[in-house]
Assembly symmetry: C2
Amino acid sequence: MPSPPALPADPPPRPASRVAVTVHDVARATGVSAMTVSRVLRTPQQVSERTRLAVQEAVRALGYVPNLVANGLRSSRSNLVSALVPTVQGSLFSGMVGALTEALERRGFQLTVGQIGYGRSREDDLLRAIVGRRPDGIVLTGILHSPESRTMLAASGIPVVETWDATDDPIDMLLRVSHDAIGRAVCDYLHARGKRRLAVLTGGDPRALRRADGLAARAAERGLAGPPVHLLDSPTTHRHGREGLRALLAATPGVDGVFCSSDLMAGGVLTEARALGIAVPEQLAVVGFGDLDFAATLLPSLTSVHIDGAAIGALAADMIAARADGAAVAERTVDIAHRIVPRDSA
Amino acid sequence: MPSPPALPADPPPRPASRVAVTVHDVARATGVSAMTVSRVLRTPQQVSERTRLAVQEAVRALGYVPNLVANGLRSSRSNLVSALVPTVQGSLFSGMVGALTEALERRGFQLTVGQIGYGRSREDDLLRAIVGRRPDGIVLTGILHSPESRTMLAASGIPVVETWDATDDPIDMLLRVSHDAIGRAVCDYLHARGKRRLAVLTGGDPRALRRADGLAARAAERGLAGPPVHLLDSPTTHRHGREGLRALLAATPGVDGVFCSSDLMAGGVLTEARALGIAVPEQLAVVGFGDLDFAATLLPSLTSVHIDGAAIGALAADMIAARADGAAVAERTVDIAHRIVPRDSA
DNA sequence: CTGAAAGCGCTTACAG
DNA sequence: CTGAAAGCGCTTACAG
């Protein structure tokens, strides 16, 4: 089946990587000083039209692209913001990343996205590499684990926004999501629909575990049996949902409501329920997390917990931009609401 | 339903962002020169143990994090690689990004991921921002449209790897994927299974359209009716699949095989077929693209086109690392194979 | 409106 | 094994 066309003849060798063009090259070509070139690029209204046009022409002719590294070193603003997410896979955070990218771009910042993974091993190294580039802001997804990382960030003086989690001791700014409250709300939601034998299928990331704990705590308050919690690897997939449901029912027959730590996994649970001939939601209610795009169009459609990632991204951009402009941020902790979107699966 | 706990009292104000610690601060604290501090950090074996320990202690005590911006300006290596993808959403490229991240990290490079969007408007600006930071390499997903961008990249002297597409005129290095060949292969695959009335549901990105063209060209060679091509927005979702199938069947009843431009959309087609009582694959064969994780566990499982994104990422990292070390890359164009993974849906 | 000088924080290249 | 000087490519701050 793999039949890519034959390799074409290699193109002619590429010219040896020439030394990049600098302000001085442009200045020399135009007969002005480097400063004037810099002004044409940054504050063109301060330069006479004649000079401006000549410089612009030389910039074009030489293909000059200003070195932002040098710029960032001299002026102490990098126009760079770094975001750290557990993983770009799974798209739970893509709404946030998209909104952040757009809001920052409008303000002249560039966003770089780093993947921190669900383990903690790379955290310190990655953070050192990021802090070393002196970004104008750092957006973290979740709370950092290592004290070293927290100290390094605090000492760097770089504005930091922690998101998607709750903590009593934020490094700097916080967009607060209470996973405990979400777990409790899901318990109440399922209880209100007559479900009494709840269970949790969850990946191992700390936020998902906190949701599981919240649900369990609330179940205990309501006098329900301690819900079984099935732990799976992160990031969770459709396969986890299928296998997880089978394992769950084998271990605990009679479960009538399950809270999944991702929509993808919840989709797998729906598929497995269909394969096993289990009626959803009558015999088994299913709740997902993330309210991703496909939740609404699955069959049955998936009840899921929605968190406004786009709002998180936009708020984080506001906070960082304000700080970069030297302004204070009045509300350094902002609560982000969640809501359960009721659909056919629960 | 939205009931986040009450706001906690704001934490004590953060210390005014102190000026960052530099080599000179460490040098002063230790009573050595800045050069010696630099050596302790980069080539510790060149420094006496006594000095080394003292400097390391000061580094720790002061929380010194070397400024990589200054480093990158002086030494002409940034240890930074930039990748551009249409979008991180949809996870088609997450295998590539993951492998790229890992392979580069092992070699001491940091990866930044930029989203170029499926439109072309941001391309030039984004590329200028990237080239301006003088990365040691740039990985592009797909072929750039604008001549300005291509000229700027070529003039920059930065190693460039174009991926996920085919072109006769690569900017520099190329990991070649032939979407035309994929479209043709899918046509042959469906034809071999007795399907004669084919159709395409596709997003508008250029590579997906090239696959549609390839399928159409092959269908014409085989004397099949010109397959209807239904065009949808990119990135395509589960919803697109459901709505697209309905529209397709309304416009062209009797279609017996459909090639979708993404697995997510193909999943939607499977769902809609179930809702409409259409037997898959007997009445309608469905082929996806990407062979994402969930393709194997859908019900019926999804036949899909697999491209080894992890191999693309690893190869791109090899090529860029070689160039950064001043080595030549012998094979500047490498073909990336595709294969159709046969499952129950077709 | 324009420019000469200095410096951002490092490391290269040289000298000892 | 260690350091003084110079410079990477810009822009700030000053002067005219």
